[in-house]
Symmetry: C2
Subunit: 140 residues, 2 copies
Amino acid sequence: MTDPNTFDSHLSYALAAAHRSVSQALNARLKKHGIQIEAWRVMECLDIGQKQTMGTLAKRALINPPALSKLVDRMVSDGLVHRQISARDQRQINLLLTNLGRARMLQIREEVEDQDKVLTDLFDNQSGPLLIQLLTKLAQ
Amino acid sequence: MTDPNTFDSHLSYALAAAHRSVSQALNARLKKHGIQIEAWRVMECLDIGQKQTMGTLAKRALINPPALSKLVDRMVSDGLVHRQISARDQRQINLLLTNLGRARMLQIREEVEDQDKVLTDLFDNQSGPLLIQLLTKLAQ
DNA sequence: TGAAATTACTTTCCAAGTCAACTAAATTCG
DNA sequence: CGAATTTAGTTGACTTGGAAAGTAATTTCA
């Protein structure tokens, strides 16, 4: 056991600390674009596959359904996305990026890529991808 | 560039996904004890060093000062901690665990240790500590 | 010394998230 | 078929968090 008097060697603590630090930094950058991290994730998900349902989006963008509903309300009133009722299942919503939304996403993507580069530069060539791999395993 | 059409290879995404998954699992366990993750972190910090100020606690427990103030209000009314004005600086608060707080912390610690074991068992002997090391580096 | 600046913490106001209940559409199966 | 169940998404009541302002104690330095 390593240092029984501290709890910062716990995985859950180290993870929370890293997440806090990284999302604060990213948040500061996205503030310039007037957008939240979650909204950016939604837009990236939509760019990968248009017409996604709220359900699949909630999973991919790491947002609970009620929070996603409200976030999408705001994004609609900001003109970034619009809702379309699915033809095959009237309960489902297909969310679409507007032209404005797509343009904004591309700008923001640069900011995020830049931030990501700063982070991965903290590590050597093996460690960066390894960290992502370990995190991905943890996320299941 | 690896897989330009997905963003889940971004460190910030992998980190958010892992954090979400881990804190949801931990949260479910702590719910049985009627406590939030943040309150548990505060109690662990107090166990390491009693009489910590709100400022140092905020940093160690990864909580912004206003949120910590409010959390401590709730913990005081739950009888877990109590505030004591510092003798040497009347602006500072020294926070102390009550006997109830200490007892609850010890119960909860078991739950968290157990959860942490489940997580670290996902990895081989090198990877677990390595992950923590990489995360700690990221948190600075 | 004592006015100005800094530091420690809290409060207020508002934005955002959660849980549980709700609406409505689709599916199941007796 | 059609009543019962399941699924998709939203809403509402309530809780929590954040930014900025507020209070009060301490420190700085002219």
